[in-house]
C-alpha cells in the first residue's frame, strides 16, 4: 500500500521533474491508446513527438502556433499567481481578433496606404484594447458586485463567439464571398510581417518572446509584481502591507486581456488574413494548460507553448497520415494536465510503501 507523507519542505527536484514525469505518463497513455485503436504506437508517437520537429519549416509552424499560446499563457499565469481565476482568455482572444481584424478591414476597405511595419504596432494596440475591454467587464463585475470571475470570464467566451459570428454573418460579411460567413481578405499591408520567405512564422513570435522577458522582469523584479504575488499567496498579508486588492484585480485582468487580445489580432491578421467564425482553435483554453505546465513562470510558458503546439500539429498530422481522429489532441492535452496535477502532489508529499496490516 502506498501512503503519502508530507515533506518537511517542498522538493525542488520534484518541482522540476514533475512536468517531465507528467509528459512521460502522457506518452505512455498515448502508446496504449494507439495500441487499442489498432495503430502502430511507434508510428503514432512519432507523428506527435518527432514529425513536428523535423526541418525548419516544421519548427516555424511550432513557432507560429506557440505565439498566441505564449501571449495568452503569460497573462493567465499573472492572473493565477494573484489568485484571479480568469479562464476566459479564449473570449479575450476573440475580441482581439475582432479588434485587429476590424482595423485591418477598415484599412482594406478604405484602400489606405500604409506599410506593414507601420501597421504592426497599430494592430497590437487594437488587439490589446479590444481584449482588455473584454476582460474589464470581468474586473468590473468582480469589483463592484463580487461576481465570480471564473463564471463571468467563461460565459463571456460564448458571448464573444456570438459577437464574432454576428459580425461575419452580418455587417462585415464579404459582399463577394458567395455568402460564406467571412470577411473579405485583408490587404497585403495589414499582414503581420513574416520573418522568412516561404514560412508562416511572423513578427508576432519575437514580440511574444519580448513580452516573456518583460513579464519575467515584472513578476520577479518589480514591487508591483511582488504585490500581485502577495495578494495571491496571502491576502491577509497584502491587506496588512496595504497593497490594494482592487488594483491587483484590475491590473492582472487588463494585462491578461490585452495579451490575449494581441494574440487574437495576430492570428486574424497573420496566418488567416480574414475573419471567420473559426479564427481560434481553442488557443485561450489550451493556454490554461500551458500556464500550469509552465509552472506559471514566464519561461515555463514558452516551453509549455512549444510542447502544446507539438500536440496541436501532431493532432493534425495524425488525422491525415495515420487516420486517427483529431480529437486525440484534446485527449492528450487533458491527460497531460491531469498527470501534471497528480505529479505535483509529489512536490509536497513523498510516497511511502507500507505493508498492509
Amino acid at each position: 500500500m502506498i501512503r503519502f507523507e508530507a515533506r518537511p519542505a517542498p522538493s525542488r527536484l520534484m518541482s522540476a521533474l514533475s512536468p517531465l514525469v507528467a509528459l512521460l505518463a502522457t506518452v505512455a497513455v498515448a502508446a496504449l491508446l494507439f495500441l487499442a485503436l489498432g495503430k502502430d504506437p511507434v508510428q503514432g508517437l512519432s507523428v506527435f513527438l518527432v514529425e513536428p520537429l523535423r526541418g525548419a519549416r516544421a519548427l516555424s509552424e511550432i513557432g507560429l502556433k506557440s505565439t498566441p499560446l505564449i501571449l495568452c499563457a503569460l497573462g493567465l499565469s499573472l492572473c493565477y499567481r494573484s489568485n484571479v481565476w480568469n479562464i476566459g482568455a479564449e473570449g479575450q482572444f476573440l475580441l482581439g481578433a475582432i479588434g485587429g481584424g476590424g482595423l485591418a478591414l477598415w484599412v482594406t476597405a478604405g484602400e489606405l496606404a500604409i506599410s506593414r511595419w507601420a501597421f504592426f504596432p497599430l494592430l497590437i494596440l487594437a488587439g490589446a484594447a479590444a481584449g482588455a475591454a473584454w476582460a474589464a467587464i470581468v474586473a468590473l463585475l468582480r469589483d463592484r458586485f463580487h461576481a465570480s470571475e471564473i463564471l463571468v470570464s467563461l460565459m463571456l467566451v460564448y458571448v464573444a463567439n456570438l459577437v464574432l459570428s454576428y459580425l461575419v454573418f452580418g455587417p462585415w460579411k464579404d459582399p463577394h464571398g458567395w455568402n460564406f460567413p467571412q470577411t473579405m481578405s485583408f490587404a497585403e499591408a495589414t499582414a503581420v510581417p513574416r520573418l522568412a520567405r516561404g514560412m508562416r512564422l511572423h513578427a508576432g513570435f519575437p514580440f511574444a518572446l519580448l513580452v516573456t522577458a518583460a513579464a519575467w522582469l515584472f513578476t520577479f523584479r518589480t514591487y508591483r509584481g511582488l504585490q500581485l504575488q502577495v495578494g495571491g499567496a496571502a491576502p491577509a498579508a497584502a491587506r496588512y502591507a496595504g497593497f490594494s486588492a482592487r488594483s491587483s484585480l484590475w491590473t492582472v485582468l487588463l494585462t491578461s486581456g490585452a495579451l490575449a487580445g494581441i494574440a487574437g489580432a495576430f492570428e486574424a491578421a497573420g496566418p488567416m488574413g480574414q475573419l471567420t467564425p473559426h479564427v481560434s482553435t481553442g488557443y485561450g483554453f489550451t493556454a490554461i494548460i500551458v500556464a500550469f505546465v509552465g509552472r506559471l513562470h514566464p519561461l515555463g510558458c514558452v516551453l509549455g507553448s512549444g510542447l502544446l503546439s507539438m500536440f496541436l500539429i501532431g493532432g493534425e498530422l495524425a488525422q491525415s497520415r495515420v487516420g486517427l481522429p483529431a480529437a486525440l489532441t484534446g485527449v492528450f492535452q487533458g491527460v497531460l494536465l491531469l498527470a501534471l496535477l497528480a505529479c505535483d502532489t509529489l512536490i509536497h508529499y513523498r510516497p511511502r510503501w507500507t505493508s498492509t496490516r
Binding site: 523584479r221 518589480t222 514591487y223 511582488l226 502577495v230 496571502a234 491577509a236 498579508a237 491587506r239 507500507t354
Partner: protein, 513 residues
C-alpha cells in the same frame, strides 16, 4: 509495580541537516502531570508528534502501559487514548466549531451530539465557546479553546497540551489547572509543554528538560527554583531587562471616542474607545482574546478604514481614512498577531517579505534592488539573532519564534515613531521573548510610542508603563503598572470596572461628549 502509562527510550529523529531528537527518554506515570520544558527548536514539538503518531522516529521504542507500540498515525494514537492540543491549530477555517470537532473524532456520532458535548465540556471547564460559529471568525485564543475542548471530548488516557494557558485570564488559568488536576486524579496522564516556569512549578509533578534535542535532566519542578529550571533549559539564567524610568513625551497615537459596529456577525463591536499613547512610553492592553482586540488593531493599522478620520490621530493628524502604507510613511508600524499569512508570506523569502512594510530597497519605477534587499535582510537577521539559513530562506521554513524575531525586527529596524504590536512573544521561547521585550524597551527609551496588545499578563506587567484592559469591545481606564494588581486586572478582564477606577480615566463616556 504498575507499568508507566508511557515510556520512550532511545528515541531519535533526524531531519535533513538537524537532529531534532537525540536518544530521548521520557517516562510518564498514570495520573502524572509531566512537564516537557525546552526552548523553541529544542525538539519538544517533534517529540510530541512522535508520541501522537504524526512523525515516525528513526530509532527508539515506545511502550504504552508496558507494551511496545508503533503509533503509525494520529488515528492510532487516538485509539490508544492519546489526545493532543497542538500549538499550531489544525482547524478548517470554513467549518464550524462543532464540525471541526466532529472531524477529529474517531467514533461515529451525530453533529447534534457533538454540539451538545461541546456545550457540556465548555461549561464544565469554564470555556466560552459557541459550537455553531465558523472557525475563521474566531481569534487565535478562541481557536485554541476549540482544540482543548476537542481533546477533552475524546476522554483521553494521555492528554498532550502545547502552551495552553497563553490565552486565558489568571482566573481561568486557575480553573484550567484545577480541571487538569482533577483529570489527573482520575488517572489521566498529562504531558504539559510550556515555557512558563512558574506554571510548571505550580502544576506539574515531574519535568523533563530538553535542550538541542537531548534530555538535559528530569526533576521535580516543585523542588526547583525558576532560576535553576531556566539554567537547565537554556544553560543560563534569563537575561535581566534594563528598565529605565519612562519619560513620556507628547501624545503620538490617540483614539477619540471610537465606536464601530462589528465587522461581521461574529465580530466584536467597539464601544467609545478612547486611548492615548505618548512618545517614550509603552501602553499595554490586556484582555482575553476575542474581546475586540482584532477589531481595535485593524483600525489602528489601517486595515479597517471604517473609522471616522478624526477618531484615529497619529502624531496630531487625523488618519482614520488612511491605509496602512500612508500610516507607515507617517511613522506607524504594526506587528500583527498572525505571523504566517499576515505578518509574512509563507512562500516568499525573508528578503522579499521585507517589502511588505519596508520600501528602502525600491528604486524608481518600483524596481527592486536585490542586492540592497538581501543586505537589508541579512542585517536584520544578524541584529536580531534570527536563526535562519539566510535572506533567501522562505518564511515558512523558520520556527515560530525565529520568524517572530524577524518580523518584530523588521518593524523595529524601521525606527518607527509609533509601534503597535500584538502578542509580541506568543509561543516564543524564554530567550527570544526576553530579547524581544528588551528591544521594545530600548525602542521606548529612544522615544517611540509603543502600544502592546497581549494576553500574557506577566509580559504586560514586565514591559508596560500603563495598562488598559479590553473587554466586550470596551476599554477600561488606564492604570500605572506599578499601581496595578493581578487581581484588579483579572477582574477588569471580565468587564467589571467602574469609570472612577484608575484615577486618570481620560475621555470617560459622559453625556454630550
Amino acid at each position: 509495580m504498575i507499568a508507566p502509562r508511557l515510556q520512550l527510550q532511545h528515541v531519535t529523529k533526524r531531519y535533513a541537516d538537524v537532529v531534532a531528537n537525540d536518544d530521548v527518554a521520557l517516562t510518564v506515570q498514570p495520573g502524572e502531570i509531566h512537564a516537557v520544558l525546552g526552548e523553541n527548536g529544542a525538539g519538544k514539538s517533534t517529540l510530541m508528534k512522535i508520541i501522537y503518531g504524526a512523525v515516525r522516529p528513526d530509532a527508539g521504542e515506545i511502550h504504552w502501559n508496558g507494551l511496545p507500540v508503533h503509533v503509525r498515525s494520529p488515528q492510532e494514537a487516538r485509539e490508544l487514548g492519546i489526545a493532543m492540543v497542538f500549538q499550531h491549530f489544525s482547524l478548517f477555517d470554513t467549518l464550524t466549531v462543532a464540525e471541526n470537532v466532529l472531524l477529529g473524532l474517531s467514533r461515529r456520532v451525530s453533529l447534534q451530539e457533538v454540539t451538545e458535548g461541546i456545550r457540556e465540556k465548555a461549561a464544565e471547564y469554564g470555556l466560552a465557546l459557541d459550537p455553531g460559529r465558523p472557525v475563521h471568525t474566531l481569534s487565535v485564543g478562541e481557536r485554541q479553546r476549540v482544540e482543548i475542548v476537542r481533546a477533552m471530548l475524546a476522554d483521553p488516557k494521555l492528554l498532550i497540551l502545547d502552551e495552553p494557558t497563553s490565552v486565558l485570564t489568571p482566573q481561568a488559568v486557575e480553573r484550567l489547572f484545577a480541571t487538569l488536576r482533577q483529570l489527573a486524579a482520575t488517572g489521566c496522564s498529562i504531558l504539559y509543554i510550556s515555557h512558563k516556569l512558574d506554571e510548571i512549578r505550580t502544576l506539574c509533578h515531574r519535568c523533563t528538560v530538553l535542550r538541542g534535542g537531548k534530555v538535559m535532566g528530569v526533576c521535580d519542578p516543585t523542588e526547583e527554583s525558576t532560576a535553576s529550571l531556566s539554567r537547565l533549559m537554556i544553560g543560563a539564567e534569563p537575561p535581566r531587562l534594563l528598565h529605565r524610568a519612562p519619560r513620556p513625551g507628547p501624545v503620538a497615537l490617540a483614539l477619540r471616542e471610537l465606536s464601530l459596529p462589528r465587522p461581521d456577525r461574529f465580530g466584536v463591536a467597539l464601544d467609545r474607545i478612547s486611548l492615548e499613547v505618548c512618545a517614550g512610553e509603552i501602553v499595554g492592553i490586556a484582555g482575553v482574546s476575542g474581546n475586540g482586540q482584532q477589531e481595535l488593531l485593524s483600525v489602528l493599522s489601517g486595515e479597517d478604514l471604517r473609522a471616522e478620520a478624526g477618531a484615529v490621530e497619529l502624531l496630531g493628524r487625523p488618519v482614520g481614512r488612511r491605509g496602512p502604507r500612508a500610516r507607515r510613511r507617517l511613522g506607524l508600524h504594526f506587528v500583527p498577531e498572525e505571523r504566517l499569512g499576515r505578518g509574512a508570506v509563507p512562500t516568499l523569502s525573508l528578503a522579499q517579505n521585507l517589502l511588505l512594510t519596508r520600501e528602502e530597497s525600491l528604486r524608481p519605477l518600483g524596481w527592486i534592488d536585490r542586492g540592497a534587499l538581501t543586505a537589508q535582510a541579512a542585517g536584520i537577521i544578524e541584529r536580531f539573532r534570527v536563526k535562519a539559513p539566510g535572506p533567501a530562506a522562505p518564511a515558512k521554513s523558520l520556527s515560530g519564534g525565529n520568524l517572530q524575531k524577524y518580523i518584530v525586527g523588521r518593524e523595529i529596524d524601521a525606527a518607527p515613531r509609533v509601534l503597535v504590536v500584538s502578542q509580541p512573544t506568543w509561543g516564543v521561547d524564554v530567550g527570544a521573548a526576553a530579547q524581544i521585550r528588551g528591544e521594545l524597551l530600548a525602542l521606548r527609551d529612544a522615544g517611540c510610542a509603543v502600544l502592546m496588545v497581549s494576553e500574557e499578563l506577566e509580559e504586560l506587567f514586565e514591559v508596560s508603563d500603563r495598562l488598559h484592559v479590553i473587554a466586550k469591545g470596551r476599554l477600561s481606564p488606564s492604570v500605572a503598572t506599578p499601581a496595578a494588581t493581578l487581581e484588579q486586572i483579572g477582574q477588569w478582564m471580565s468587564g467589571l470596572w467602574s469609570e472612577a477606577e484608575g484615577g486618570a480615566a481620560r475621555g470617560s463616556p459622559g453625556e454630550g461628549t
